[in-house]
């Protein structure tokens, strides 16, 4: 963010609170905001989900099409993830092609889904080398109040788990549920502020944070992906602390996700 006057006043205020053990919205350092997940909102999409983490809102829609596979994986479906930081969501987002932030967001979500192999891409092959299902995950940020990483991955997962492959529309037999394995990675993001670690930052905290760490964990509590961001650094102890908190909060997030996709 720019070094304008207002953020610097806000920064002093948030730093002062942190040194007193408090946060700007009254949460504990290791306390996640309330989460709400709604699925099946978009009729035109194969699957969709809206995730609210506090005031942050992200809508993800899944679309599918039939196309050619990549030459190096002729019997696998194709997965594409894009994110749009539309100007509706924040006064700082501008119209135009995706910038660095949007691309990082889409790539982190894409990796989380691709590397965990929850989508069985081999089951999305129609004719090897000729025809496969092409899958688009589109992340539409609606309201930016921090922690878009966790909200976007959670919304993508909830949308995937409620998706139907539209085979009838392409005259390829009956529609079927998207084949997915049951153990998705759940990400949990923390930032370092004034030498304190806070989980699930709001935008005000994110804008003045020194360093950020996103940790994705699986059902067993094993680590499945990490991404460090921003120019500050962490001590080894801080990283360990963040990972432990991510495992604990990952469990809670997983429960909310499971509840939303069961209905």
């Amino acid at each position: 963010m720019s070094s304008s006057v207002v953020p610097s006043i806000k920064k002093d205020f948030i730093y002062k609170l942190i040194s007193e053990g408090k946060r700007i919205d009254g949460r504990a350092f290791d306390e996640y905001r309330s989460i709400k997940i709604e699925t099946g909102l978009i009729r035109k999409a194969e699957g969709s989900a809206k995730v609210k983490i506090g005031n942050t809102q992200v809508l993800v829609g899944i679309k599918m099409d039939v196309g050619e596979p990549y030459p190096d994986s002729p019997d696998m479906g194709v997965l594409t993830t894009s994110a749009e930081l539309i100007p509706l969501a924040s006064p700082d987002f501008e119209a135009g092609p995706p910038g660095r932030e949007a691309i990082e967001l889409a790539r982190v979500v894409d990796r989380g889904i691709r590397e965990s192999e929850i989508i069985q891409l081999d089951k999305l092959c129609i004719e090897p080398g000729e025809k496969v299902w092409i899958m688009f995950i589109d992340i539409h940020v609606l309201d930016q109040d921090g922690n878009l990483f966790d909200a976007s991955l959670l919304a993508s997962l909830a949308a995937l788990y409620t998706s139907t492959v539209p085979a009838e529309r392409f005259e390829l037999g009956e529609n079927f549920k998207l084949p997915l394995s049951k153990d998705p990675p759940i990400s949990c993001t923390s930032v370092k502020l004034n030498n304190a670690i806070v989980i699930d930052p709001v935008l005000d905290e994110e804008e003045i944070a020194d360093a950020r760490l996103t940790v994705a964990t699986d059902k067993k509590g094993d680590i499945r992906a990490m991404q460090k961001g921003l120019s500050g650094s962490f001590t080894i102890e801080e990283v360990k602390k963040i990972i432990k908190a991510s495992i604990i909060n990952g469990k809670k997030l997983r429960e909310v996700l499971n509840k939303s996709i069961r209905g």
């Binding site: 978009i42 035109k44 829609g61 679309k63 100007p87 539409h140």
Partner: protein
């Protein structure tokens, strides 16, 4: 419009339309004001199968500086469709259709906003179509009207839009997808409901002069019904605020 109608599609029979509505009946409409946290004003509209969000930012300094108008604010509406809002995925970003719609909506809104109160400023209106089902520009402009009021932008009136058209020779209100695809005419209209001034008018298809008169009358009647829903949505938001206080 323009698509050839399959043999088995009957658009109008026994004074009923393909979705069971009467000729002058609107689809179900739901409007909510103040749904976003970050925006200065916002609104959510469900209109038939359309789901549309509008957010207003401003008045704020117009940037880059060379676009500033020293006499008044610029009204910059941006109509955008989510990639997943249509049957075949839409490539993200503006295309010629959404640029044109953004332009006519900007101009319609500019007419009611007291732009001369905010020289060198811009008022940005973002309209996001999340789920599309015919009539998105009318639903989008209607949402924008509520979002502008919610943002406290001074206006002469709250703009509202509704389409009328023609299927099988019959003039009808608020076309659904099939009527839009296979019908004879589609005419979106936006008005300032206090004066019935026309802010937006487009038409494609084929209408006789008599049919046009009838369609315009019907569209304006539709606008007035939707206008009441807009006002209700705004009142509801402030009822909620009063309860909190």
């Amino acid at each position: 419009m323009g698509m050839k109608k399959p043999e088995d599609v009957i658009l109008f029979k026994n004074n009923k339309r393909i979705d069971g509505r009467k000729p002058d009946e609107l689809r179900p409409i739901k409007i909510e004001a103040g749904v976003l946290y970050r925006a200065d004003g916002s609104a959510y509209v469900e209109w038939g199968g359309n789901k549309i969000l509008a957010a207003v930012y401003g008045p704020r300094e117009a940037l880059p500086k060379h676009i500033q108008d020293p006499r008044k604010a610029i009204v910059n509406a941006r109509y955008n469709m989510a990639a997943f809002s249509v049957e075949d995925r839409k490539r993200p970003g503006p295309d010629r259709r959404s640029i044109e719609i953004s332009k006519v909506i900007s101009e319609a809104l500019e007419r009611v906003i007291l732009t001369e109160q905010f020289p060198r400023a811009s008022i940005d209106v973002n309209i996001e179509v999340l789920d599309a089902d015919a009539g998105t520009r009318c639903a989008g402009l209607t949402a924008a009207g509520v979002a502008l009021a919610d943002a406290g932008i001074p206006m002469r009136d709250i703009p509202v839009a509704c389409a009328a058209g023609k299927v099988e020779g019959k003039v009808i209100l608020d076309l659904c997808k099939e009527e839009d695809n296979y019908g004879d005419a589609d005419m979106p209209v936006a008005i300032a409901p206090l004066t019935d001034e026309i802010l937006l008018l487009q038409m494609d298809g084929h209408l006789t002069y008599e049919e046009f008169e009838k369609a315009l009358d019907l569209a304006i009647k539709g606008c007035h019904i939707v206008s009441e829903l807009q006002k209700k949505a705004l009142l509801k938001k402030y009822e909620r605020v009063l309860e909190v206080e």
